[in-house]
């Protein structure tokens, strides 16, 4: 029997790694990786609480969340590919024409 708090601590560590990646990395694909890691940490929380509260809603929400994340990756990679075509670069600091 796995305690709820252990799973929550793993999820916090994953979330913090994702935050680190978003802050430090300038490569657009690596930032997408960080977003994926954060989304998965959130899903892990949903499943852990669903098990402990014995409620099916957590699993249903996790399924919705996974599907939305898949759509988000498709659009994100499309944007990265078109940005690469325009700038020949995927360093987010080089995408200057998006600056206000």
């Amino acid at each position: 029997m796995i305690d709820l708090i252990d799973v929550l601590l793993v999820s916090i560590v994953l979330f913090a790694i994702g935050i680190y990646g978003l802050v430090v990395k300038r490569n657009a694909i690596r930032m997408l990786f960080s977003i994926e890691i954060i989304a998965n940490a959130a899903n892990l929380n949903l499943i852990a609480f669903s098990r402990d509260l014995h409620n099916v809603q957590g699993q249903v929400f996790a399924l919705f969340s996974i599907a939305i994340a898949a759509a988000e990756v498709a659009v994100g990679l499309g944007i990265i590919i078109i940005a690469y075509r325009l700038y020949k670069e995927i360093d987010v600091e080089q995408f200057r024409s998006l600056r206000g």
Binding site: I2, L14, E36, H54, Q59, L63
Partner: protein, 171 residues
């Protein structure tokens, strides 16, 4: 036994998450991300959610990882692999990571979820048919909206990545 498996999966997931961000080659990072998602699916199995685990493997390890690997191959150039990271920014990122970890961890450790009697002590796993029932009754509007969202996202991605500079041969 369950504890040993739990620690193994935790080390696998967190380790490959770090590798996916810190590896020199982007393609190894993409593969490490897939392994990390596989570890998350292992957690779902350990937490009595086999259906979500299979969904996670199908969507993340099957679809998203392949998509990311193809994108990495499409944008691969030499200068992308030279790291241009600020030292100060890296230190700030590590500090922010530790603050996040310590802060949220302290909140969770101080809260009631640490109590072993938290929640429902009933340990029988949730029936998979319950997921289908609630998805097709109470959550059916959300399911329809989700279908439209997915269709819109796929069409949007196709429209974004379309090349307009290629002229058709029969024109």
């Amino acid at each position: 036994m369950a504890d040993a498996i739990f620690y193994g999966v935790a080390v696998l997931t967190i380790g490959s998450a770090i590798i996916s961000l810190e590896s020199k080659e982007l393609i190894y990072g993409a593969i490490a991300l897939a392994i990390s998602m596989l570890g998350i699916a292992g957690f779902f199995l350990l937490l009595d959610a086999p259906f979500v685990a299979m969904f996670q493997i199908a969507v993340y390890v099957g679809a998203v990882a392949v998509l990311v690997i193809f994108a990495v191959m499409l944008v691969r150039t030499q200068e992308l692999f030279t790291a241009r990271e600020d030292r100060g920014r890296k230190i700030a990122g590590i500090l922010l990571m530790l603050i996040t970890m310590g802060g949220i961890g302290a909140i969770f450790l101080a809260s009631g979820v640490r109590d072993p009697t938290f929640g429902n002590p009933n340990t029988t796993p949730i029936d998979i048919t319950e997921i289908g029932k609630s998805m097709l009754t109470y959550y059916s509007p959300a399911l329809i909206v989700l279908g439209f969202t997915l269709a819109g996202a796929v069409i949007g991605a196709l429209a974004l990545a379309r090349r307009e500079d290629i002229v058709k041969e029969n024109d």
